[in-house]
Symmetry: C2
Subunit: 219 residues, 2 copies
DNA sequence: ACCTGAACACCGTTCAAGT
DNA sequence: ACCTGAACACCGTTCAAGT
């Protein structure tokens, strides 16, 4: 509502993008707005509220794919547009694990996934679990990319791959040495998404087969 | 090595378990050891080094299953023992996303998974990716459990489920209202693990079929 | 209603000083 | 080598005071 609040969130978002989440300080945000730290409190109940506002902004950036696509394409596109939205503000991704996504925007993307899984023929009882499985993986992947689990910030820190490929205490690494290079994360994400979609398709196929069997034995 | 360092890490671990990661302060750790904050620096190069030490302790807690089990049981047991280890120090889980697991202990559990995937017949080129997929999911699941994405700290904050089940803007939620209750996270984790293992088995089955086809068309 | 400035109880870390 | 105490440059937030 208040345009002053939007101004504050804009400033906080800029700081997070430029200097990381640690630099998002009441004082720093205030100074970028051109005001004292205390002047933020009428518009933001405290730091936690400020961060909640940033999460809302972050989730507002995920575009929902065209509902007329087939369910596999819908999930694939949602995965990509979700990842892109988080990449736009990588410093904020850790915030997504702190609280349940109970805002309307968060529930709407969950609803979109629910609908895709319904259309896929997944049994209802499995759908909330599979929605959590998919989004948990997506958030985990992006935070791993952006917070340093996959790629270390410093360039030299990835020697461990070649070292591990020669370490006698890591026999399987040695066996896979030829294949341990750092991959394209775009490609890896796409392949993971395909595997998860295949998993969902398998689930619904198994269900359909079971239903058919039941029908046959009934008939 | 230094037993003073171990003493410091013990104190930090206790504070993290009792009061959370935010309470792990150089001053608080020092005072629990019975010493000034500055007295920590000869044994710990700074706060980052202290947190690295805690991560090492955390990962030391994941037990590797018996290597003689079949690959599916090995993955299943490793998933459970990994989750249990993280549950012992939930406050530390966010630290796992910050840096690549390049310590020996971390690489040894990766090696264990590599071996299971090799035994499953997964093509080598897919193995590092699938290892990351599995561990990314596991870490994402546990951090979601323990940091509040799945379960809110305050009891009353889970009303959104029943509210969402009635919200006209969330048609799929309405359709699934009967099934939106908070699940048993133990059961959900087990089901997710089974699905992922099934996905791996499917991958290797596809590969084997392709190889057989190639062999047939060659012969 | 909105903002300021001083203050409080904290941080991590440096530095000179002690033993 | 190990530890102390004062200090520095920060935090988030409260509170009294201004307009």
């Amino acid at each position: 509502m208040s345009e002053r609040r939007d101004q504050i969130l804009d400033a906080a978002l800029d700081i997070a993008d430029e200097e990381g989440l640690g630099a998002v300080t009441m004082r720093a945000v205030a100074s970028r707005v051109g005001v004292t730290a205390m002047a933020l409190y009428p518009h933001v109940s405290g730091k936690e509220d400020l961060l909640d506002g940033l999460v809302t902004r972050l989730l507002a950036g995920v575009a929902l794919p065209d509902a007329s696509l087939c369910w596999t394409d819908r999930l694939r596109e949602l995965g990509c547009s979700g990842r892109e939205a988080l990449h736009r503000h990588p410093a904020l991704v850790p915030l997504l694990f702190a609280k349940p996504g109970s805002t309307l925007a968060a529930r709407q993307t969950a609803d979109f996934i629910y609908q895709a899984l319904l259309d896929a023929g997944v049994p209802a009882a499995q759908i909330p679990r599979l929605e959590r499985l998919i989004t948990t993986f997506l958030l985990g992947f992006v935070i791993s990319e952006t917070s340093g689990r996959f790629v270390a910030g410093t360039a030299g820190a990835q020697d461990w791959r070649t070292a591990a490929g020669r370490d006698t205490r890591l026999p399987a690494h040695r066996q896979l040495a030829a294949v341990l290079a750092e991959p394209s994360w775009d490609d890896e994400f796409a392949a993971d998404l395909d595997d998860l979609i295949g998993m969902v398709a398998g689930r619904s196929a198994a269900e359909n087969a079971a239903a058919e069997n039941a029908a046959v034995s009934r008939g």
